[in-house]
Assembly symmetry: C2
Homo-oligomer: 263 residues x 2
């Protein structure tokens, strides 16, 4: 088991890891971020857990914030470094730096995780679960300058789109993958916007899970010239719960593509 606090993983934007503009796709970046978290936790004995031979516990995201100054493009190398800053009763704060091949930080990610019981889907106090603490691994010195979190409100009851969920949306936790929501949120914007703009800030607060077969409704609201709020609800109009349940709140800020990124 490693005694380092920070792990760094190296990647290259391979063919088809990019979006139509040649920038690293959200799907690939998001999954790499999740995979780095899983590897870093696993190397320190904080894997997904099975207790008493049957009770399984899974890490799930409570919040995820991306701040991207530049996007890696097809063929570019980049690294993702990750560390845990805080671990409290039910939650742990994990940070990531994304650096280009010159070692210059081009993006930052802040995440809050909980561990849920696979059956009850309820969060569990973390120290009691593992019987050992994350304390030796906490990295409290490394800077992690992120903007304060947004207050996200959407004042509309008219969805811009409604999408069912399917086999390919579901991950090993048996719920819609947390990165998949990011793709679905960005799909509420016109493709043309991504020709001239890139996402500079994206944050998502996960309230509840959704499962295969759930129907997702998307509600959007402008929050500034390049700022948008997007809320996803599930199963709106269901007879037992006509207002549905909020899955996540999200805020997205676009910025014109920088000359440095445009090629």
């Amino acid at each position: 088991m490693t005694c380092e606090k920070v792990d760094t993983f190296k990647y290259v934007v391979e063919p088809f890891d990019d979006d139509f503009t040649g920038r690293l796709s959200w799907n690939v970046l998001g999954k790499h971020v999740l995979a780095c978290a899983e590897r870093h936790a696993g190397a320190r004995g904080f894997d997904r857990l099975t207790l008493d031979g049957h009770q399984r516990f899974l890490w799930v995201l409570s919040r995820m914030v991306f701040e991207m100054d530049e996007w890696p493009r097809l063929g570019d190398s980049y690294t993702i470094s990750t560390w845990v800053r805080r671990c409290y009763r039910y939650f742990t704060d994990r940070y990531f730096d994304i650096a280009n091949d010159e070692g210059h930080v081009i993006g930052r990610v802040f995440t809050i995780w909980a561990m849920i019981n696979e059956t009850t889907r309820k969060p569990q106090p973390l120290n009691e679960l593992f019987g050992h603490t994350f304390d030796p691994y906490l990295e409290t010195e490394r800077p992690c300058d992120m903007q304060p979190l947004s207050r996200i409100r959407v004042n509309t009851e008219t969805p811009v789109s409604i999408r069912p969920t399917y086999y390919s949306d579901i991950d090993q936790n048996n719920h819609v993958n947390s990165v998949r929501y990011i793709e679905l949120i960005l799909d509420t914007f016109p493709k043309e916007l991504f020709s001239s703009h890139q996402v500079k800030h994206l944050e998502i607060a996960y309230n509840t899970e959704s499962y295969c077969g759930d129907s997702l409704s998307f509600y959007t609201q402008s929050a500034g010239p390049d700022d948008y709020f997007v809320v996803i609800k599930k199963n709106v109009g269901h007879p037992e719960q006509p207002l549905g349940e909020t899955i996540c709140h999200s805020a997205v800020t676009f910025a014109p593509i920088s000359k440095k990124t445009k090629q």
Copy 2:
């Protein structure tokens, strides 16, 4: 430039490269197959092409057939080997072997590619384009035993689902990515089927492209106990072309999960 005929690329099923059952996801496998083709062609001077400084040409898939005996699972290493067997006026036949970490072939892929003009979207005679032939690179000896192609017919006009296309469906060729169709086809099946079964054979014949904003309709038909046909049409009901246009024909065969794969 290499003078080898076959290139082999090594992969590992990383966290979140898998589906909910822990098997390598179609999205990741398909994109790796496309990336191997692009790298193999590029290393031999058959990249995407720009002529006279402005006419661009892109490789597009005409047909793609997967035969999978076993699926790599989370953490497994596997390799993809690829070579070109034939190159004729408008098309080229490319094969792939997928091998497990013991070097045992667990899957085979057969593809037919054309090169289209980016503006007209019409296929171009290949030899005239490149001014040199693929002949020195043709691998005609290596076995590539694939089943004969299916005759795919769907006799229904009632779609099982209709899905718009969005930003995240589109790749650098500015059309819906060819692997994305595979995900969409498999999403017409209930998730539960993938708990007990795996895809053994999947073939897809691409007729025309679809673009961001097109509406995709899915038509399915049983073709045997574990065999299904799926046809995707675009913009059905459009006033100028009410019957829509067929994007692709597909055949899918499931098999019960082998003990070797189930873990």
